[in-house]
């Protein structure tokens, strides 16, 4: 049933779940929530299914009107969210009434906030996932005027604040754990030390990948195109590092010098331009 309508889209708001598994041999990216941990928490708090989809908000969240009474929760980065003027906190289940307006607002301490709804967002499953990715799905992001349905509730009864995890655990760590990638050995001993001894600044980012500012200043040969994964750290011809994220291609031709741990990928999902990180080899 129609549950919410998007009044304002925010900066970059998409529908995300665990992503598409098993279609890499057709060249289809995985996609899925950038911060899988925050997305999973939204489902956990709402008693949703593991695979239920949520809205992924980026820097500035959407404004939403509820078309019926519905429970929701905010996870991931903290925002200045208000429900009809009442300030909201993260990781706490709220019950909205029909007609109420949720303004997710500005992200305050990270990059991405998830808005989970009781029953999960029920858009069409394409290749095993509801994650928006153009052209696998018709659009890459939600649009003004979109009316979204939600699935069947698994909650027996809902009242605001019935579930609340105190610590809003938006991951602010600047430590990014990596393991050696297939072409780690391309790096000289000195560059290996530089890799883990200096800090890197996020220069640009999107759902496909994150470019780091400071070059490693090592020219290395390209490789024959091989498999890559979300979390793969590539060394580009200019000597810069590029971290592949959830919407990345399934194959790539740059040396894969490192691979982020799963936790580190979720941490990276909360980084934005100007943030600094340190890579730590496990």
């Amino acid at each position: 049933m129609a549950s919410i309508e998007i009044l304002e889209t925010g900066f970059y708001t998409s529908v995300q779940d665990q992503g598409r598994k098993g279609y890499a041999i057709k060249g289809v990216p995985e996609s899925g929530a950038m911060d899988q941990e925050a997305w999973r928490l939204s489902n956990l708090l709402l008693h949703n299914l593991d695979s239920d989809a949520a809205l992924e908000c980026t820097l500035i969240g959407p404004t939403i009107v509820f078309l019926r009474d519905l429970a929701f929760v905010l996870t991931g980065a903290i925002t200045s969210a208000v429900l009809d003027g009442t300030e909201l906190i993260s990781n706490k289940v709220y019950k909205a009434s029909k007609g109420q307006i949720l303004r997710v607002g500005k992200v305050l301490n990270g990059c991405r906030t998830y808005v989970g709804f009781d029953g999960g967002i029920d858009t069409k499953i394409i290749l095993g996932s509801r994650s928006t990715f153009y052209p696998i799905t018709e659009r890459g992001i939600v649009q003004k005027g979109d009316v979204l349905r939600t699935g069947i509730s698994n909650m027996l009864s809902v009242s605001s604040g019935m579930v609340h995890i105190k610590e809003a655990k938006a991951n602010k760590s600047s430590n990014i754990n990596i393991v050696q990638g297939p072409e780690y050995y391309y790096l000289s001993q000195i560059k290996r030390e530089v890799l883990t001894n200096r800090s890197f600044t996020i220069q640009s980012w999107n759902r496909m990948g994150i470019a780091l500012g400071e070059p490693l200043e090592q020219q290395v040969a390209k490789i024959l195109t091989g498999p890559v994964l979300p979390g793969t750290v590539q060394l580009t011809p200019s000597g810069h590092l590029y971290i592949l994220m959830r919407d990345c291609q399934v194959t790539g031709g740059y040396p894969r010098i490192a691979q982020l741990t799963q936790t580190a990928i979720n941490t990276m999902a909360q980084k934005k331009t100007g943030d600094t990180i340190r890579l730590a080899l496990e």
Binding site: K21, I25, G27, L224, L229, Q249, V250
Partner: protein, 237 residues
């Protein structure tokens, strides 16, 4: 011939297996057999590229690595019925589509017809799909057509563009930035979510380009992917 390989963890949940030999039809056949066997053994997705296989979403441990080695040690080529599918890809090499064709011909000191002949003569192998949904990595481009990528990539290469970059040729399944030299246009979509198989091409397909006129291009562009794979352009051998 391909018994020697290296095997390593690729992050916490993937195993990469790498061969040293340069890409070839023989290596590809071997990799396809190994891919199928590993998929059966682990019930996981296995990605095949030029010289590598990647087992995805698998717990990496000494036990699983041992299991991979055992599986690769007992490959049976007879288990696998390799695809013999042949796909003819119609391409209109009219200069209206082939925006870089004139310059390419000039740089190679060849006529446009000679370039088209060099591109349409070989039988290519669809080594694997990647880059964009449905994009084929093809083996078999004539050395005379190898051309360094553009220094400055075009901001938008149109869906269906047939292009040459480095040692490769391919077809853009969707509008995309790209640094390859566009020499023609294929009127058939390479990827369609409404088509049962989604992708026109499968890894392991044999592929040949066929030059078509503007009129043929116009009439073929009305064809759906479903109609195309059931037409005489695709033979299951």
């Amino acid at each position: 011939m391909f018994e020697k390989y290296s095997i390593q963890a690729f992050g916490e949940y993937a195993i990469l297996i790498k061969w040293k030999q340069p890409p070839s039809n023989d290596l590809r056949v071997y990799l396809a057999i190994a891919q199928k066997s590993l998929e059966r053994e682990f019930d996981k997705e296995v990605i095949l590229t030029y010289q590598e296989l990647l087992i995805k979403d698998i717990m990496v441990s000494n036990d699983t690595i041992k299991q991979v080695k055992e599986c690769l040690g007992t490959l049976d080529a007879k288990q696998l019925s390799l695809s013999r599918r042949e796909v003819i890809i119609p391409v209109c090499y009219d200069l209206k589509f082939g925006s870089d064709l004139m310059k390419l011909a000039k740089d190679k000191n060849k006529s446009i017809d000679a370039i088209i002949k060099l591109h349409t003569d070989p039988k290519y192998m669809v080594y694997f799909l990647g880059f964009l949904p449905g994009f084929p990595y093809l083996l078999g481009l004539d050395k005379k057509l190898h051309t360094a990528r553009k220094d400055t990539p075009s901001r938008k290469v149109t869906q269906g563009s047939v292009a040459i970059g480095g040692t490769q040729t391919g077809i853009y399944p969707q509008d995309s930035p790209g640094g390859w030299h566009v020499i023609g246009h294929c009127p058939i979509p390479l990827f369609d979510i409404h088509f049962s198989e989604k992708s026109l091409l499968r890894q392991g397909d044999h592929l040949q380009f066929k030059a078509i006129s503007m009129d043929e291009h116009a009439s073929l562009s009305k064809m759906s992917l479903h109609e195309f794979v059931n037409s005489s352009f695709v033979s299951n051998g």
